[in-house]
């Protein structure tokens, strides 16, 4: 093998690098490396002239590999690899030495910083000596998408993708699509009826020729990678044939089992056979297997007897279906922070203390009270209602550190809805401060304060408890410095938004990361806000962060457009930097098989074998292998060894 001709291009990044690193010296030191044929420094290597000079230098000096010492490879690796290709050499012979994020930005001493930059650069030069030219792997794209979660985010994404002519599978865990938005009464700041806005979209998605709806279904397993995922979906039995069901309600009249209605957040009860809402889609009853006396005509069978349409079938069984899709949108939504974590707010045990969603159901025309606000304990109209904001939010010491973003707005809305229903009532709002950034939001809050005479008290509630048929709320008004005691008929807690239970599970199934608060992590907080870290998996809605409906819909649209862009390609090129087994060293212990997060390795004839279509080149296998029998291409043991040696020299 003839000696490499490497070019080293040192970037100043303005003063970002040059202020802490003597770039001229880095270039000079690199020139002393035996394989380096050309060095150059430039103030902004990523600028147009900078890039051109790289291309020209490769051509002029007959370079066969390139090291650019600049910022993180996350930013400009692609830029310079493209340049290498433009100059006629293989793009995988170009590597980045990160002397900005990993050196100049984190150090102040120029002499030491320069030393480190030299070591980083030298290690990459040595690594590049062993880089192999490689071609990207082309993988075919499955032109179908799957959306997990049938709330407003999922529905919007499904419609947008479907409208682009791409087949979509919308998977929803519950018996109806609609999600949290379907539970809301009116929406801020326009106070239009939530169900009225959402139900046309639900109908549209149901009728859409490109959308396949799978309700009462759960994603169990996902394998494959961007462009070709294989998804196992469990279809839970509803025991009712949606095509035959006429929604006549006769079954619920005879069903003897009464359980709390989760769709009404426990404010009312439902039967074992039920329909979540009148607007439910699919418009069909569902038989709750856990609540039912036993799906057995001998034990009960009343619903089946009374069903004239013959829609009820006790013999339905769970089904697992496998679907091939090219992209996945995760829109699994939020739950409210558990009241049990808040003993000072009654811990969920004090009567007439509701959470925000329960209050939505109380206000909703489709709710248990047909929109009449009355308190659950004695069905009286509450005359004093205390709304408490930031319950569980903005409390890094004990609860959630983050702001749940929508509570200021929906509390203001709750106060207005309450005053509309009970004009003579008094509404109190405890707040820390009001965050009403958004179109028309501040005006909405102002109207709540001024037009509706809602008393806003700046301070927190220390305790609440039941006393004399009322809820005594002890708090502070920090503006007057006075302690406040209110005997309230009802208290509404604006609990923090947390990622839904389903979000936590699906993150594990899809192996996508979550942030410190448990929400799904985006690939880049600013530039890739709807992508997950795993290629081909996109995020939408409150599963990614607390957000309101307009933001959710916007994000769903953005995720959809990403999916459409991805699936409009016929093949995808995958990085060829994947694992490779050295069969002579492999003992077949199978540790790499267990360690591989992508299920890309299997044992065959006592040796590990890598599935090239699934391997992402993460290197977990290489780190686990005790025998150095598995390497990632272009990041081999030898290269790492040389890099360590270069650093220690």
């Amino acid at each position: 093998m003839s000696k490499k001709r490497t070019g080293v291009f040192v970037c100043h990044c303005g003063t970002n690098i040059a202020a802490t690193v003597d770039v001229a010296r880095v270039a000079k030191e690199m020139a002393d490396e035996s394989t380096v044929a050309f060095t150059q420094e430039y103030v902004y290597m990523c600028s147009e002239p900078g890039q051109e000079s790289v291309v020209q230098a490769i051509k002029d000096n007959k370079l066969d590999s390139v090291v650019v010492t600049c910022c993180s490879p996350n930013l400009h690796e692609k830029t310079f690899r493209d340049n290498a290709q433009r100059a006629g050499i293989n793009n995988f012979t170009c590597e980045i030495a990160n002397i900005r994020e990993q050196c100049s930005w984190v150090h102040a001493d120029k002499a030491k910083g320069t030393e480190k930059a030299i070591k980083i650069s030298r290690s990459v030069v040595r690594r590049v000596n062993h880089n192999k030219p490689m071609d990207a792997i082309a993988v075919p794209v499955t032109k179908r998408a799957m959306i997990i979660g049938g709330g407003v985010a999922g529905i919007q994404a499904a419609l947008d993708i479907g409208n682009a002519g791409i087949e979509v599978i919308l998977v929803e865990k519950q018996a109806t699509i609609g999600g949290r938005m379907l539970q809301l009464s009116e929406t801020f700041p326009t106070l239009d009826c939530s169900q009225c806005v959402l139900s046309p979209k639900m109908v549209e998605v149901k009728r859409h020729p490109k959308v396949k709806l799978m309700t009462y279904s759960e994603v169990q397993e996902v394998s494959g990678s961007v462009g070709s995922f294989q998804v196992k979906i469990l279809k839970k039995p509803t025991f009712v044939d949606p095509d035959k069901c006429k929604i006549c309600d006769h079954c619920t009249e005879v069903c003897p089992v009464v359980v709390p209605n989760e769709y009404e957040l426990g404010l009312t009860a439902r039967r074992a056979i039920y329909i979540p809402y009148a607007q439910a889609i699919p418009a069909s009853f569902t038989l709750d297997e856990d609540a039912c006396l036993g799906l057995n005509p001998v034990r009960c069978g009343k619903c089946k007897d009374v069903c004239e349409a013959g829609a009820i079938n006790y013999d339905m069984r769970p089904q697992t279906v496998t679907e091939d899709v090219g992209a996945i949108v995760v829109a699994t939504g939020f739950d409210l922070y558990d009241q049990a974590n808040m003993p000072e707010m009654g811990g969920g045990k004090v009567e007439d203390v509701l959470d925000g969603l329960q209050f939505e159901r109380l206000c909703s025309a489709s709710g248990a009270t047909q929109g009449h606000i009355m308190r659950p304990s004695d069905h009286k109209v509450p005359k004093d209602v205390v709304f408490i904001q930031c319950v569980g939010s903005r409390d890094p010491a004990k609860h959630c550190a983050y702001c749940s973003k929508i509570c200021c707005m929906y509390t203001a809305k709750h106060a207005r809805l309450y005053k509309k229903h009970v004009p003579e009532g008094r509404a109190y709002v405890f707040y820390i401060d009001i965050r009403s950034g958004g179109k028309g939001y501040e005006e909405f809050v102002q109207r709540t304060m001024e037009d509706d005479d809602t008393l806003y008290l700046r301070g927190r509630v220390s305790k609440l408890y039941r006393k004399d048929g009322k809820v005594r709320v002890l708090g502070t008004d920090t503006l007057t410095g006075q302690n406040v005691e209110i005997d309230a008929d009802m208290v509404v807690l604006a609990l923090a938004m947390v990622p839904s239970k389903g979000t936590v599970e699906i993150a594990k199934t899809l192996k996508i990361g979550r942030d410190k608060d448990g929400f799904l992590a985006e690939a880049h907080p600013k530039l890739r806000p709807v992508e997950s870290v795993t290629g081909g998996i996109y995020l939408a809605g409150a599963a990614q962060a607390p957000k309101d409906i307009p933001e959710t819909v916007a994000q769903a649209g953005a995720a959809a457009s990403k999916v459409i862009a991805l699936l409009s390609q016929t093949t995808l090129s995958r990085s060829p930097l994947i694992a490779k087994v050295r069969r002579s060293h492999c003992t077949g212990c199978g540790m790499c098989v267990d360690a591989c997060p992508f299920i890309a390795i299997r044992l065959e004839g006592g040796k590990a074998v890598v599935n090239e279509a699934l391997c992402e080149g993460c290197g977990s296998c290489s780190a686990t292998c005790l025998r150095a029998a598995i390497d990632v291409k272009n990041v081999t043991q030898l290269q790492i060894h040389e890099m360590i040696e270069a650093c220690l020299a």
Binding site: R583, H585, T587, G588, C589, L638
Partner: protein, 343 residues
């Protein structure tokens, strides 16, 4: 108490019926009281088998050797191998099966419980024998009885037992086809990791001096590696001399073989060797203590392995050799794995 005749009868019967092709056990050695590994293939030889306090060898090593030998001959195993296994040995066998080295049906484990005792540490025994060599050693309840030229010498087992046996938490082969002796799991002869705790109680400087001393003395004879059933790799990553060249080895691999360690037995290279070995045994070492016993210059190798074992146990709730099916320590990731060491 284990009746030795039971072990012999079992071995004889199984060999006679062809249920096993060999029984790996212990027989009387040629030097004094010491037992040595025995490979019994003829039922008539079954009476050679012994079981006494000098049966320290971890015989699972020979299962590895057998597998390598068969691979070399390109033969299938055929009938299983019978093996006499103590608690720690049986755990080693489990780890080997966990790593797919052989299948469960390839081994017939004749378990022997260490009951209230364990194996003897010759270095601890020597001062008790007034310079005489013991010609025989037997278990007797919680005592060992040694025969020397001066007559019989009865010693409480805990005074002359190997540290690893004193600290052993499970002196019983949980994985077995057949087992002799009582399960005395939970006996508390010494605090687990007692030696490690004593060591860690020292000042940082003293600890470094301690290890510098031992790392200087290591002659890199690789006895610890040879005696270890877990060190079964054909090529050891710390070796730069035994590079296996097979028909699959490419020219480039030959040219680019990596020398992580130089051959010289100097402190820095010895540190790299012993540390690498400790890391590679993390979650795999079952503390059979053979490495330390085999060391000709008395490097306290167990301390290194114990440290890794305790980390695995305390941080990840992992017990090497607890079950065949589970994933290995370094290959498994759980959401609740501690991450506080990453800064």
């Amino acid at each position: 108490m284990i009746n030795l005749q039971d072990i012999r009868d079992t071995a004889r019967d199984m060999l006679a019926k062809g249920e096993v092709r060999t029984v790996i056990g212990y027989r009387r050695g040629t030097r004094g009281m010491l037992a040595e590994p025995a490979f019994i293939t003829d039922p008539a030889q079954a009476d050679d088998l012994v079981w006494n306090p000098t049966c320290f060898h971890n015989l699972s090593l020979y299962l590895v050797e057998d597998r390598k030998f068969l691979a070399h001959l390109r033969q299938n195993p055929g009938a299983p191998i019978g093996i006499v296994a103590k608690g720690c040995d049986a755990r080693s066998i489990v780890v080997l099966m966990q790593e797919h080295y052989f299948k469960r049906e390839d081994v017939y484990i004749i378990g022997v419980s260490c009951e209230g005792t364990g194996v003897v540490d010759e270095r601890k025994l020597a001062p008790h024998l007034n310079g005489f060599q013991a010609s025989d050693a037997v278990f007797d309840g919680d005592d060992f009885v040694f025969t020397t030229a001066q007559g019989e010498k009865r010693l409480p087992a805990r005074e002359v037992m190997a540290d690893r046996c004193l600290e052993c938490r499970i002196p019983f082969p949980k994985e077995h086809n057949l087992v002799f002796g009582e399960d005395k799991t939970g006996r508390q002869l010494a605090e687990p990791f007692a030696a490690l705790k004593r060591f860690e109680a020292q000042e940082g400087g003293d600890r470094w001096n301690f290890w510098s001393h031992h790392f200087d003395r290591c002659i890199r004879c690789f006895a610890c590696r040879s005696v270890c059933p877990m060190c079964y790799c054909d090529e050891c990553v710390v070796d730069s001399i035994t590079f296996p060249v097979t028909s699959e080895t490419s020219a480039e691999e030959k040219a680019n073989r990596i020398r992580w360690i130089e051959r010289s037995a100097t402190r820095s290279e010895n540190i790299t060797y012993l540390m690498t070995r400790a890391m590679h045994l993390a979650g795999r070492c079952t503390d059979c203590g053979e490495c330390e016993r085999a060391c000709p210059v008395n490097v306290p190798i167990r301390l290194l392995n114990n440290k890794m074992e305790r980390e695995a146990r305390e941080k990840f709730g992992f017990e090497p050799g607890a079950s065949i099916g589970g994933p290995s320590l370094v290959a498994s990731f759980l959401d609740n794995d501690p991450g506080d060491f990453i800064r």
